[in-house]
Structures are given as C-alpha cells and as structure tokens.
Symmetry: C2
Subunit: 392 residues, 2 copies
C-alpha cells in the first residue's frame, strides 16, 4: 500500500490542482498523454472497427489523426476555420472558442488489428493475449472489443466529445465507430495531488491506486520496458476497459453497514474498516473480539489488495457513466467505466479479475457488460505519428 | 429581436459569470429555480410514472422530495450521514464533499396526472393540452411523456445526477423512472451575462433567446399571470422537452456554405447572414444583387423569428447529449435535448414547431425522438412543498 498524503505538495510533474482548466497538455513525449496525466474530469471514448483491407489506408488515417490531435489538444480546430463555402467544414466547430481543457488523446490497438489483414501477425505482443472468459462476465459484443480505441479525457466534456467526433469523421471510410462511451465524472486519482473522488456507490474509489508521481511503480507495473516485448511497444502500456454496470437500486436498499463490509472501507471517511483515515494502511490481519476479520474475507479491498495478487498493481482511470434506462428492468443503466493500464494484462487485470469475479462481495451489485483490450504504443515523437513504430 | 450585448454588465440578479461554481441557488421563491436561473453547464433529467392510485401517496412523496431538495441544493446530503448500520443509507453518498454547484431542481406535472386517478380532472389547465402530432415527429414513447418530471441543472454533473437519483430512490414504490437524460453541455444562455454556447452542429445556439433579465419578456411570454388560468399555476410556467437527435454524420458532409444557409447565420461569428456580429439585428427583408433573400426562405432563424410567429417568444434551456451508438445505423446517437418554458405551449412551442417541422431546412439533419409536456407550478414558499397549490 502506498501511504500517500493528499495534502502534501508534489514537486515536479503536472498536478490537477496546479493546472488551470484551460491548460494544454503536451502531445509529444516518451509516453502517450492521458495515462500518467492527472485524471481529467470527463471522458469520451470510442472504439473503432477498421473497414479497409489496405494497410496504407490505416497509416494514412493514423497520420491524419495525429495531425488533428496535435491541433485539438492545443484548443485549436482541425484546420483553418475560414472554410471554403462549397467544401464540408474542416472542423465540426462545437469546440470553437473553448479552452484546451487539459485534453488528452490516447490511442490503442486491439488484438484484432493483428489478425492478418495488415500483415501484423508477427508484431503482436504476447501480452496482448485475448482476455479469457472471466468469472461473472456478461459482456455485450456491441459494447466490447474494437480494432482501435481513442480515449479522450478533458475537463470540459464538449472538448472531449469534439475530439472523438472529429477523429471519427476524419476516419470515415477507413474506420467505423463500434462503441462510444461518455463518462461524466472521474472516479480515480492518478496524481497524489488529487482528492479521491466518489463513485456511484457513494464510496471513495481508488485510494490505493498507483499515482503517476511514483516513478518506480510506473516503471514496474505500467510502462513496457526494454526487454521481453515487441520493440514497438517499449514505453507503451496495455489498456483494459470494462463497462461495469452498477445495480444502484439494489445497492441503495442494502444496509449502510453491509455496504461498508462489501467494500471494506468506511463510507464517509474512506478509511479501511478498523482504521481512522482514508490513507491509513489496510490491515488485512486484524480480527475483532470474536476472532472475525475486521475486513471481511470477501471484501473488495481485501481481494483487490496487492498482497493477495502477487504484489501486482494497476494504474486506474475510471469514470461514472449513465446511459438512461435499462429497457428490460426499468432501472438506471449507470455505473463505472473502468480503464486500467498495466505492463502485462495477464499479470494485471486478468489475474485481479479472476479473483474479484469469483469471490468479491461486490458482485451482487455490479455486472461487467463491456470489455476492451488495447496495446497503447509509446508517445509520439515530434513529427511522428500514432503507431509509427508498428506500421511505419 | 433583443439587442443585447454580452460584454455589458447587468445590474441585479445572479449571472453565470458572477456566480462561483460552488454557490447555492435559493430553493424557495415566487418562481421555481431552474427556469430563470442562469443556465448551468450540466443537466440530469428524469420523467416518472406514478404507480400508486393514492393521492395521499403522491402528496407524501412530494413532501419528501421537497425536504430532500431543500438540503441537496445547499450541497447537503438527504439527512444525517452518521447512518445506522442496519438501515439503508439516508443518502446515496456520491455527492458528499462536493460543492452545491448551483444545483436547481424543477418539478413539473404531465397531462396524465389529471386523468382522474387523483381527482385532479377539474384542475387541469387549458394550456396543458396534449401536444398535437407535429410535422416530422418520430417520437419514441419510451423517451416521451411522464406523469411528473424533475429537471436537475448544476455546474457539476455528479451533483445533478445525485439529486435525480435520490429523488427517484425516495419515490420508489410511488413513482418509477420512465426516461432519464443526461445533458453534458449547455446550448442556451438564459442570462445576458452568459456567452452563447455552440451546439453539436457547431453553431452558436439561442442568440435571440429571452434572457431572465428581461422582466417584461418573462412576464409576457414565460410566467403564468393572474388571469385566465388555474389559480394554482399563477407564477408557474409550462415546460416542453424535446429530444432532438442530430444526424451529425450527414451534417458533417454538408458544405460549409450550405450549413450557414440552413441556419441563416455565419458559423464562426454567429452573425446573421449579411451582418457582422452575433447580436446584430436579423434583417429578414434583405435581398442580394440577384434579388434573392440574404437569409433563405427556409433558414432556421427566419422560420423561428418572432415576426414569423405572431410575436411569440420562448425561454430556452438546451443541452447537448450523446447516448452512444444507434444500433440500427451505427451512427452516433447524439443531439440537442431541448427544453423551453412558456406561458402557453399552444402559442409557444406548438405554433413554432408547426412552422419549423413543416418547412425548416434543418429537418434534413435532425429528428425529434422524445417529447414531454409539463405544468411547472410556482415556487415553493418557506415551509411549503412542491405542488401544494394543486394537491394540498
């Protein structure tokens, strides 16, 4: 467990509290932005299916996307706004005049990119193994998978939406949107300067996340290193997305004490059961006067603890979502759109979800309805383009 | 046309630019908040069907809702957070620690409330006439209607979501959610201090809205007066909601010049065609050198102009939405969630939409997929409750 302190100033690196909402996040660098970047407040995310058989088309689209992204993260439209009247608009326009809002755009490649259509079979990383069927999976194929993904995070949802929409527009004829998800509020902190937000179950979520300032943890668990991996992925990472529906009506009927037992934390303070403050250490060995564990055997934080997962940790980036009413049950279709980054999903998300999916007391109140797995290449060099190491 | 100036300071009354996002908007008053209140950035809205045959149940729910709303608009939970462990939580918790974020909650009663179940038939206002079939309607019943509506607007979407969810929870057994809509960004200004936002077509939207500072227009067109109406509606207004899907892929393929002709405004500046600045007067009589109207005959702003609608005006409160991918077409299900308030919908929205639905050049790019009509009673007095004048 990382004993971090929200009130402590962190030297170096951008933080959410020191970055005004109008700021632009640099697009180029060793790693893609939107992974270690302090989690912005809003998400727009789309997965795409490629509709071309031509590798050149894919390359052309990725070059076009990179040029557009470079402008959009600066708060600029995709080209000159003095449009020729007889041509379609070069930019859809809904973000004209808005600040950059810390927009980041992060691209990943799904396993299906390597199926042979583009001659990439031998470049498929071992870590990009198809996710196995996991306990409790109830996945909708229309909300899962994709050849490519674009994660747009920003502090203004219109800026995030505009970015995804324009990439979709520029990719038309080459890629079609497979699924799209809006996330209205962040449920993760990726910087020690950020206050831990609450998810739609009302609990502080992700207290023991890796934070980007912890360079050792980022190198151990998030960034792909120099050995034992496809060279084009060095400095990259693997993204897993899960659309986690919460049965909030059932959750709301549960008793306050049982909710705390299910999570293993106090609801108001966020402290582990038996402790006082949110960032107090999680003591999995503590027992009460009757000899029962203070943090129950099936509590979420026990099963998710690194000590129960071979020391593995993940970098989380989660967002609350709502998509209206479930037509079958009449209940709210809402929950957590979970994104995590790790150096190898087989050790990271897959191992963790085998444990959680089978035993977590939370399973009574949640269901995984969508899933994605993507290889996020390293950052774009100045003058380079997304995926250049793979397709260039 | 109202010749207002965004740069001009307005004396008296709250404005979006002078109100910090943490502010609380008063709940009680002559009118319900959320109508003349400067439009907040985010929307969460739910319509409910009553599942009880007991008028007393409806009254009890509205009293409970009023008490909860009074707390929530102050940024407070619905009751004591020191919850008894064996009882369900008194508040779902996801807004603990968040600022009030200018939350407003606005309630309305649909025509079906007056169908005889609650002995209210004789209290139905004449202005609450069922909306007729309108040109171009393609309404989904699951996204339309409702006995009751709650509009939550706030500058933090989590605060707005929390409020609607908790009212739904408190109403369980008496009312069930019929439809729910999240709006991620405002597309209307209701104060002259607000900058006109852009909608998902990239155009500035609602430039010639009524603004709340224009008391004469509010009294003429929005608030129900003292004569010719049910007494319980005096100080109230009528709300029409329309879920307007935009075919943004088709729009994006249209030429820049045609987009401007369809709307009747320049896209970048927002100026009427033939004029220079957004708030320049709309000259519907101007013709070009060939004698053609500068603002085309079917342009949106011509058909919507008060001079083409018997002088009628409405107060708009619109939000951009996206609900993922349309499973039939594979295109984005996104658009404008349109809300308007008027003293009599027969003179306001219905007359306007007869004109627009039949002739508006915009119809090629939009479709109305949801619809609601609600009588919003006047404001709640201190110690009173929502709908007291109708049901008390």
């Amino acid at each position: 467990m990382l004993g971090r302190d929200d009130t402590q100033a962190v030297s170096g690196g951008p933080t959410a509290t020191s970055t005004p909402p109008s700021a632009a996040v640099p697009f180029t660098g060793a790693h893609q932005a939107g992974i270690a970047t302090p989690a912005q407040d809003r998400l727009a995310m789309a997965a795409f299916d490629l509709s071309t058989s031509s590798r050149d088309d894919v390359v052309a689209m990725l070059r076009t996307w990179t040029a557009a992204a470079t402008l959009m993260v600066q708060g600029r439209p995709v080209g000159d706004v003095e449009n020729a009247p007889l041509a379609p608009a070069v930019d859809t326009g809904e973000a004209y005049g808005l600040a950059p809002a810390s927009l980041t755009l992060t691209v990943g490649f799904g396993p299906s990119m390597f199926d042979g259509r583009y001659g990439l079979g031998s470049r498929r990383p071992a870590a990009l193994a198809d996710l196995p069927q996991l306990p409790g999976d109830d996945l909708d194929p229309d909300l899962s998978g994709g050849d490519l993904v674009v994660q747009a995070c920003a502090d203004d949802p219109q800026v995030a939406f505009h970015a995804v929409r324009n990439l979709a527009r520029l990719g038309r004829g080459t890629a079609a949107v497979r699924w799209f998800q809006l996330g209205f509020g962040r449920t993760s902190s990726t910087s020690s300067a950020q206050v831990t937000p609450r998810n739609l179950q009302g609990f502080k979520d992700g207290t023991n996340n890796i934070v980007a300032e912890d360079a050792a943890a980022m190198d151990s668990f998030v960034w792909v290193g120099d050995e034992g991996e496809q060279a084009w992925m060095r400095g990259g990472t693997y993204m897993v997305t899960r659309r986690i529906r919460m049965f909030i009506e059932a959750w709301d009927r549960d008793s306050f004490g049982d909710q705390e037992s299910v999570i293993g934390r106090h609801k108001i303070s966020g402290a582990p059961l038996g402790a006082q403050a949110e960032h107090d250490a999680v003591d999995l060995t503590a027992v009460d006067a009757q000899g029962h564990p203070v943090i129950p055997a099936t509590a979420h934080i026990r099963l998710a603890a690194p000590s129960n997962n071979g020391g593995q940790r993940i970098l989380r980036r989660g967002y609350s979502f709502t998509d209206g009413i479930d037509p079958v049950t009449g209940e709210l279709d809402a929950g957590l759109f979970f994104i995590c980054f790790q150096r190898d999903p087989r050790d990271g998300f897959v191992a963790l979800q085998r444990q959680l999916g089978a035993h977590d007391a939370l399973n009574e109140y949640i269901r995984h309805t969508g899933s994605g797995l993507f290889a996020c290449p390293p950052g774009v060099a100045t003058g380079g383009w997304w995926g250049q190491g793979l397709l260039g």
